[in-house]
């Protein structure tokens, strides 16, 4: 079964969607979309490093992402990173640096599109295994820090005052985010990772009554986006990453209109 490239892509995509869901919800709750952007844009540097050292790029992207996460956190703690401008600078600075580093490597320029927009149809069995491994680590650690992370996402001052070590949970969360970025890079590419994190979570927000409910819904919507996007890309020969993101966008629009659709039905049904 794993010999079929499409089946591998589907499996990898579903795995990524499943681990992106809880982290995407926390990114939304903690208003860290820009943070996620900066993190994913730093992935290009990781790719350059991986190619240079001849190590699997998923690993090097995870390592560079973790370093970037700690740097961002440090700048934020120091109060130097309070606004969108600073984060935007870092985010696109990382993108520029990564592109520059890659441009120095002979013969790799043709692959650039794959890195930027995803190349999930080329995922190998060993990479699939790596993505699965990352997924297990992410879910296990997240379960462990769930309560303090949830409280610190509601109000970090409250969490700290009550001694719930919300700040430790935040550090761990950012490291997990770096892992997910590494896993998602192959699926949708560096430029679209944040979309994969945000769209299913944003679509689920209005429909859930509990944090966990929102995560489950986001996971379902994420998986549906991956399956729908990949099928569409096979059918119409479109690039896979953007197809997945557009599928997520469509689901988001549908989810947004669900409450008003419900009202419409209630009104006309009378």
């Amino acid at each position: 079964m794993l010999d079929d490239f499409f089946m591998r892509a589907l499996l990898g995509g579903v795995a990524v969607a499943l681990i992106a869901a809880p982290l995407g919800c926390f990114v939304v709750w903690r208003r860290m979309a820009y943070f996620g952007d900066a993190l994913s844009h730093s992935a290009l540097l990781g790719i350059a490093l991986g190619l240079l050292l001849d190590i699997d790029t998923i690993l090097t992207v995870a390592i560079v992402g973790a370093a970037m996460a700690l740097l961002l956190l440090l700048l934020r703690r120091r109060g130097r990173l309070a606004n969108d401008t600073a984060l935007g600078l870092l985010s696109h600075g990382a993108l520029g640096l990564g592109l520059l580093a890659l441009s120095f490597m002979e013969g790799l320029r043709l692959d650039l599109l794959g890195y930027l927009f995803g190349d999930v149809l080329a995922v190998s069995s060993s990479q699939l295994l790596l993505i699965g491994l990352l997924g297990v680590v992410v879910v296990a650690v997240l379960t462990f820090i769930w309560r303090p992370l949830l409280l610190s996402s509601i109000d970090s001052d409250l969490a700290t005052a009550e001694g719930r070590s919300g700040s430790a949970a935040e550090v761990v969360f950012l490291l997990l985010l770096a892992l997910v970025v590494a896993a998602a890079m192959k699926l949708v590419g560096v430029l679209l990772i944040t979309a994969l994190l945000l769209l299913p979570a944003a679509a689920a927000r209005g429909l859930a009554r509990t944090p966990e409910g929102m995560v489950v819904l986001a996971a379902g919507l994420g998986v549906a986006s991956v399956v729908g996007g990949l099928e569409a890309s096979l059918l119409w020969d479109t690039p896979s990453g953007p197809s997945i993101v557009v599928a997520a966008l469509v689901l988001f629009a549908v989810a947004q209109s669900l409450p008003s659709l419900g009202r419409l039905v209630a009104v006309t049904g009378r």
Partner: protein, 252 residues
């Protein structure tokens, strides 16, 4: 001590506490001890550093200098001025309570005590300002705190609820809890406080409400508002120096 009475146990002892935001000093050389069974209130103008001091004392902010000694095992109940929750977070009051103290019945009984048991299954984002204030207070109380810190709890409460709040804080204090209160509402402050600290970056004056309201520094810092609140207070306790104090405040 000559009469044999030990002072109540000190939970938090800060000395020489200073804090700066981006290089400008917000707190300077604050000495403060919070003891069991005492309600201490911080008053002062906007930007005087009241909330900052509370955050330093509960460990949310780290003092730039000075020493802070918190007794090990002190359970803190903190009622922030507002909750920083994102509207995309779906969470019920019940669940939010359980994140404060895992014991189920404690959260329920704390809500019932504040007569907001009916809010249990509401979404946090659907609450009004006053309701959220009460939920935060109930949540802090459900933790059975040794130290209760309230940042402007009177906001959004009507007068009746304020009397209720004042009675509630008195009861909590009598159970041996240390209470730190920040309030703009001087009538609330004067009606239930044991010790008032008037701060404007540093401690300007402190003492019992009675002694502080006679301190010229208090009037200099809080202005005519102070005299108005004092008038109310004196009416209740039957004093007669209000007019005199108003004049003093005007001069200052």
């Amino acid at each position: 001590m000559p009469n044999g009475a030990e002072p109540p146990e000190a939970l938090v002892t800060g000395s020489g506490l200073s804090f700066a935001y981006e290089g400008s000093l917000v707190l300077e050389g604050i000495d403060l001890t919070l003891r069991r069974g005492e309600i201490v209130t911080l008053v002062g103008p906007n930007g005087a550093g009241k909330s900052t001091l509370a955050k330093v004392l509960v460990g949310v902010l780290k003092a730039k200098s000075g020493s802070l000694d918190v007794k090990a095992g002190t359970v803190v109940g903190y009622v922030p001025q507002r909750l920083n929750i994102d509207p995309t977070m779906p969470i019920t009051v019940r669940r939010f309570m359980s994140l404060g103290s895992p014991a189920r019945d404690r959260g329920a009984s704390a809500l019932a005590d504040l007569r907001i048991g009916h809010l249990m299954d509401k979404q946090l984002r659907e609450l009004s300002g006053g309701q959220l204030q009460r939920v935060l207070l109930a949540r802090a109380l459900s933790r059975k705190p040794d130290l209760l810190v309230l940042d402007e709890p009177g906001q959004g409460l009507d007068i009746e609820s304020q009397a209720e709040l004042s009675a509630l804080l008195g009861a909590v204090r009598n159970q041996g809890c240390a209470v730190l209160l920040i309030s703009h509402d001087l009538s609330l402050v004067l009606s239930c406080t044991d010790r008032v600290l008037c701060i404007d970056r540093r401690i300007c004056c402190s003492g019992t409400p009675d002694s502080v309201v006679h301190d010229p520094d208090y009037h200099r810092i809080l202005g005519p508002r102070a005299a108005d609140a004092l008038a109310l207070y004196q009416q209740r306790s039957g004093g007669a120096e209000v007019v005199d104090l108003r004049k003093r405040a005007d001069r200052a």
